[in-house]
Symmetry: C2
Subunit: 227 residues, 2 copies
Amino acid sequence: MDIRKNLSQVDLFNGLSLQQLDEVASIVADKKYKKGELIFADGDDGIGFYIVISGRVKVYKVSPDGKEQIMHIFGPGQPFAEVPVFEGSRYPANADAMEPSRLFFFPKKAFVELIHANPSLAMNMLASLSQRLKQFSYLIESLSLKEVPGRLASYLLYLSDKNGSIDEFDLDIAKSQLASLLGTIPETLSRIFTKLSQKELISINGPKIMILDRTGLEYLAEGESKL
Amino acid sequence: MDIRKNLSQVDLFNGLSLQQLDEVASIVADKKYKKGELIFADGDDGIGFYIVISGRVKVYKVSPDGKEQIMHIFGPGQPFAEVPVFEGSRYPANADAMEPSRLFFFPKKAFVELIHANPSLAMNMLASLSQRLKQFSYLIESLSLKEVPGRLASYLLYLSDKNGSIDEFDLDIAKSQLASLLGTIPETLSRIFTKLSQKELISINGPKIMILDRTGLEYLAEGESKL
DNA sequence: CGCTGCGTTGAGCTTCTTCAACGATCGTGG
DNA sequence: CCACGATCGTTGAAGAAGCTCAACGCAGCG
């Protein structure tokens, strides 16, 4: 069955038998979202969590004057919005589909019962939350201890790694969204791209990035040098 | 036994039988730390996690030029450093005792076995990690979307709540530490205390705080007004 | 009694944001 | 096929917020 096949490729369900996967599949709601569509809002009642099957989802907060901070971008195979399943009852942020996306929704109560019955599912979920915690630590460190050029340098190095440590690649999100992910605004990001390019650390052409001086970027990312 | 009695008051072990508590107690290492003593450093091999029995512990990151960001302060009953137990192998931050502290240490491997055998322990741990995740979300939002006066206002309201929503209370940490918790430096924090006081939102005398205009503070905390 | 750590204050500067304008690209409808 | 508007990205000028560096008061403690 299609749902079970998709579930079998999700890390969270690693180590489950076919029968267990069927139990999981039986509680899934298969949902589709258009690009830009709201999945849930900050403060909504959290009736379950999601896993991205295709597309991408951003989880973010917004300030009263409209500035947006992206907390995390989730791609295929990744679960999100688990918090209200285990603690409290409300989603602590907003979530939007960044592209047309297919999501599996897991209702809170049914999923908790599955966890009780499946220690390895519990362990997988603990690993997943721990990883998220680590990513959040990194974001906090980045926002508080690095300046924007350092954050951008880190992101570019991360993207390069993700593409197999090559020096030429494309940005995976729009620059305005990248600004929001790095805790700044498009104008500032644009100026810093220009500076990185002037100092010949990178070259840039639309979404195409080329790393010219990896060591220089690494120093920037570690906060050990300035522009 | 002393260890079991202490464990029984920890939320993480809620719902465990006396026998189960004894199993948990059997893997505990009882540790003492002096004020200011390092518990572990960023990047150290994570061989287990801790629960604070008495005293207080700060978990923090440091930038190359020495600026410190406190991620969280843990008090009695609270577990910390669980991440490397479930995902990866290294502590993602530093931890210091802020006061003379007694901690229980739980070795990774033995604890994971306990979790496998105790679904309710797994659920409690999931709840604990979820709560931490929520707190980190809040810190990210605070650092990225609020200015320092807003962060301070939030913290003062939080302290007031913790003391039973009264208007007069003492800061629970040194101002230099509060600066680090709010993502700023002592000089800036000091100037903002002065401003809040000039605008008659609070009055301040050493560590003694009095809230004079709660509504005004709430507006500040929500980012809907400026100083 | 003097040292040390903490907190405060001032002056100057860096970084980032705000506000405004403008060019390029893209999809839509005429 | 072209025209239009919308979105996105870039650039400039000005201003705000916060940081750095330096000096100094004060309290606690050896």
